[in-house]
Symmetry: C2
Subunit: 201 residues, 2 copies
C-alpha cells in the first residue's frame, strides 16, 4: 500500500490570488472606526448590502458576532480592548486571505491597535474609514442608552466619556454622519473602492 | 440635514442563506482530527483543491495561519489547547456564516473541545473527519521530527506520547491514511458532501 502521498508535506496550493480570481474581485479590510453611536455598524451593513448586490463576496465583523463568540472572554479594560482588536485584525486577515471584502465595525479607539491591524496585511488591503461624528451628536442619539449609563458612572471606561478616542490621522476615507445622508456615505465608500480597483481583478 | 437613517439600528440584511445562494452551495465545517503526522493538513488541502476546481468557495484553517496569528499567544497546556480549539471553532463558525466551506486541520485531541465546536453551528454544518492512522505509523513518518523530540522529552505534552488523544466516537467520516491512498480519502469526503447535498443549494 503506497501511502507516500500522505507523507510529503502539502503546502496549500490555493492562494489568495486564486480565490480573488474565483470571486472576480480583490479582497481587503474596510475598517470602520469611530465613537459609539457614530453609525459604524449601520454604515458597514449598508455598504455590504450594496456590494452584495454588485455580486461582491463580503462579510461584516461587528460586536454582534465577535463579542458574543470569539471575544466573549474579553472585557473593556485597555488590555482587553487591545486583545479584542488584535484578534479581530487576525480574523479579518484570514478573511482577506479567503478573498472576501471584510467590513469591521468597532470603536477601536487606540491608534496603535489600528496600526497593528494595518500592518498585518498588504498596503492596499487596509482601508481605514473614519466614521466622524461629534460626541454631542452621538450622545444625543444614544441609540443603546450607553452614554446615559456612562455619564451616571454605571459603565466605566466608556470611549469619549472617561476613555479617550484617538482620531485617525490619515484615514483612507472620512465620512461625517452628522452632515451626510447614509446614501452619500455609502456612495463615497463604493466610489473609493471602484476608483482604487478593488472591485475587479 | 436628515441623518435619521444613521440613528435606526441597522440589522445586517445579508444572511448566511443569501451568501449560500450567491455561492451556489451550502457552507459547513469539515473538522479534520487525528494524531500529528496522520495526514490531516495534507488531506484538508487536497480536498480544498478538489472543491476549488469544482467552483466551491473554501478556506483552510490550520497551524500555518492560526498558530502564527490569532493564537500565537497560546501554548500547548491543556488549558491553552482548549482555548486554541474554542477560538478556531468560533472563527470557523464565522466562515460558515460567510457561506464558506471551511476545512480545519488540528489534532484537537479532546472530545469535549470538538463537541463544543459541533454545538456552535447547525446540526448538519459540522462534519467530523477522523483521520485515523496508528501511532506507530505516524511516529515512523515523523514528518516534522516532533515524535523524536517528544520521545526525548524535549517536547512535553505531545499527543500520543505523554498527552492523550481521545478518538471520535461517531465521526461523520473516517479515513485511514495507512490503508487508503490520498485520492481515495479525498474521493470519500467529496462523495459524502455530494450525497448529503452540501455542494448545491
Amino acid at each position: 500500500m503506497n501511502n507516500n502521498n500522505f507523507i510529503i508535506p502539502h503546502e496549500g496550493k490555493i492562494k489568495k490570488e486564486d480565490r480573488q480570481r474565483q470571486k472576480k474581485h480583490k479582497s481587503a479590510i474596510l475598517w470602520f472606526t469611530g465613537l459609539s453611536g457614530s453609525g459604524k455598524s449601520t454604515l458597514a451593513h449598508a455598504v455590504e448590502e450594496k456590494l452584495f448586490e454588485m455580486g461582491i463576496h463580503t462579510y461584516v465583523l461587528d460586536g454582534d458576532n465577535i463579542r458574543t463568540g470569539l471575544n466573549k472572554d474579553l472585557g473593556f479594560s485597555a488590555e482587553d480592548r487591545e486583545e479584542n482588536i488584535r484578534r479581530i485584525g487576525e480574523v479579518a486577515k484570514l478573511f482577506v486571505d479567503a478573498g472576501i471584502i471584510t467590513l469591521t465595525a468597532f470603536i477601536s479607539p487606540y491608534k496603535k491597535d489600528r496600526e497593528l491591524v494595518r500592518n498585518l496585511v498588504d498596503k492596499d488591503e487596509f482601508i481605514e474609514i473614519y466614521v466622524k461624528c461629534p460626541l454631542e451628536v452621538c450622545e444625543q442619539r444614544d441609540v443603546k442608552g450607553l452614554y446615559e449609563k456612562a455619564r451616571k458612572g454605571i459603565i466605566k471606561n466608556f470611549t469619549g466619556i472617561d476613555d479617550p478616542y484617538e482620531e485617525p490621522e490619515n484615514p483612507e476615507i472620512v465620512v461625517e454622519t452628522d452632515k451626510e445622508t447614509l446614501k452619500e456615505s455609502v456612495d463615497k465608500i463604493i466610489n473609493y473602492l471602484k476608483e482604487k480597483g478593488h472591485l475587479q481583478i
